[in-house]
Symmetry: C2
Subunit: 387 residues, 2 copies
């Protein structure tokens, strides 16, 4: 299949591009390096300096024989995006092309505005490029479990049948979340749903939990092919940050009480979920929403796990409960459904002590590159008002 990957320079985008190429698809990888620029501006560079996309594609081809085509393009530029659709005629478009850091979007007006405009325009432009130039193209969009927040009722997969005063209506599951970034993902879902039901495009919206991991079969070919591993407070996800803290001998920083629960998954499962969504696509006129995680942990459980495994490896790991920089419930009900991807054939890589040890060993190889100043929270949710 002809597969377009938007945001292909990202933590998930690049491993996804290699995977589809290795599995015989024709892959066009698109990015504008926005995340790299923002990470540099906020002193949040990844653990490893990844070569640019073209260079990574060359290295990957020389080692594997598989080709990834690269185009440097800003998805908020509709003229260029629609030209690309006209030429490449993708059969599937995987949409990772969003500003991905919740703390970044909470900085000030300019970062909030960039997050809102980048994310919504990328989504709107993708919708229109599909409608105008590739109406058969199936869209696979990365949403987030964060869209749901932490309601006091079970979280279903995308939809909720409501009974009210003796009558019934099925709605998009009501969403309310903890950051502007997550809010843009809610807006994306509403936007997609409008065009899906009005114009009959086919969309899968994957509500993904925090991802962890650094290795995939393709990335393991060479260090230059590893995913961009962010471990800082702005662009890093929580388990990756804990791993780096354990290796660096810094206490694992748990925000507040630590009873916040989230649904997690291994980066290899992200890629498999996206593949399943492409190969068993949504129907025209269907917004298919699937909750993409494999198991839930509280932050305390996750920190304890890293501590236990790290200490078993001779690291000296402690845990610090610090003042929560975010505004979020620290102890809440959490029971999200997640059967749709298992039904499609997902065979999860659950988090094991061996898995944690493997990731710690990988991070240990790059111990010298850890910048200890970027691990404690630098962004507070109230900051927008305080200065």
């Amino acid at each position: 299949m002809r597969i377009l990957i938007l945001g292909a320079d990202g933590y998930l985008g690049w491993p996804t591009a290699m995977y589809f190429a290795a599995n015989g698809h024709e892959v066009l990888a698109v990015d504008n390096y926005l995340r790299r620029r923002l990470a540099r501006e906020t002193m949040s560079e990844a653990l490893l300096e990844a070569p640019n996309l073209q260079r990574r594609a060359e290295i990957f081809q020389s080692l594997s024989g598989h080709h990834v085509d690269v185009e440097i393009l800003d998805c908020t530029d509709y003229r260029r995006l629609s030209q690309l659709f006209e030429q490449f005629k993708p059969e599937a478009a995987i949409h990772y092309a969003e500003q991905p850091a919740a703390p970044y979007g909470m900085l000030k007006w300019s970062e909030a505005s960039l997050t809102l405009n980048n994310n919504l325009n990328a989504t709107l432009n993708l919708i229109w490029a599909v409608m105008e130039h590739a109406p058969e193209c199936r869209i696979v969009k990365l949403g987030t479990m964060g869209e749901y927040g932490t309601p006091n009722i079970d979280i279903e997969e995308g939809w909720l049948e409501v009974e009210h005063k003796g009558r019934k209506q099925k709605f998009l599951y009501p969403r309310q979340t903890g950051s502007l970034y997550h809010t843009t993902k809610i807006l994306d879902t509403d936007l997609l749903w409008f065009y899906v039901r009005t114009f009959g495009i086919a969309v899968t919206d994957l509500m993904q939990g925090p991802v962890y991991g650094i290795t995939t079969p393709e990335a393991d070919l060479d260090d230059a092919l590893l995913p961009n591993f962010h471990y800082d407070d702005i662009f890093g996800t929580v388990l990756n940050r804990f791993l780096v803290q354990a290796v660096a001998g810094i206490p694992l920083t748990v925000y507040g009480k630590g009873e916040q629960s989230r649904g997690f998954l291994d980066i290899r499962d992200t890629i498999r979920c996206v593949e399943l969504s492409v190969l068993s696509p949504a129907e025209p006129g269907q917004l298919r929403i699937m909750n993409q995680f494999t198991e839930t942990f509280s932050m305390n459980k996750l920190a304890n796990r890293v501590q236990r495994v790290g200490n078993g490896m001779g690291l000296n790991v402690s845990i610090d409960h610090i003042d929560n920089p975010r505004k979020e419930p620290e102890d809440h009900y959490y029971n999200p459904a997640h059967t749709a991807l298992l039904d499609l054939g997902l065979d999860p890589h659950y988090l094991t002590d061996e898995g944690v040890a493997t990731m710690l060993e990988k991070v240990l190889e790059y111990r010298d590159r850890i910048d200890r100043t970027r691990i404690l929270p630098r962004v507070r949710w109230k900051q927008g008002l305080s200065s």
Copy 2:
């Protein structure tokens, strides 16, 4: 009070500006004439060519003695908007500054993009200008009853208590609507709610139904002060369009079966609702949502009323059911709550035969100005794909 009116050149903005000035407030009227430009580009000019804002303010002052300050400014320009907040320090900001035409946003990518970007950036910028420069300022935002769409359960005022598997959660009422323009209003509400609950700003979001009417006490001082009366298929609201069709001797065009129901209100009630929202403001940290309409009618009932009154005045009014250019249910359950504004003191102007006759007489004065080519639907919801 110091009252800022964003979108003050609009059908509702200008009468609101005059009303607050006439009632002793210090009014700053802001607009960038976007609606005029779009109306001109789509051959949808209003029935009367209104003088520009400064000129209208001069005429109003010469006739009434009341002053309206005017600033020509694009609310999507954050630098200028925040400077204005710094200088004027508004105590209330009334936000009408959005691209208001549903059919316009359904034209093509460029109109969809303009609608999305104008409306969301105006809202985001207003939120930040308040947070940074006037945190005590109460925001009164015009939403739309259209945000709710036509669910098969009762529509409550903004919020819904959901019981699911034995547990309960109060959510923003789930929204799903019929056009991109209406969808941007849903996104506005989500955006406002995020900043309200995270940063404690005070917002009233008014879910308004279609407005009708051409006269207010201030507008009646001079024809140059009348609201911009759009009667075309793109910028006109339905009852105003029926009035013009009746006067022009064109059959009233009912879309489809005509059993679509909506909640309507008189333009004088819009202004009073906004005043009530300013004078009895939301609390800090509260998103207060009120459903702003006074009575519901189906399109058939409305057309029949105009026909009866028009025929009584010697007009020869017929009704034509035409193919529905929109994608919407034409026969549906509709039971929206609307008590909050009545509780605050709204005393509605209900639609009477005398009221319809008065409006018809006003339109008759301008009979020669009616452009008959812009009354039939020129925009079809599927158009984006068909050409």
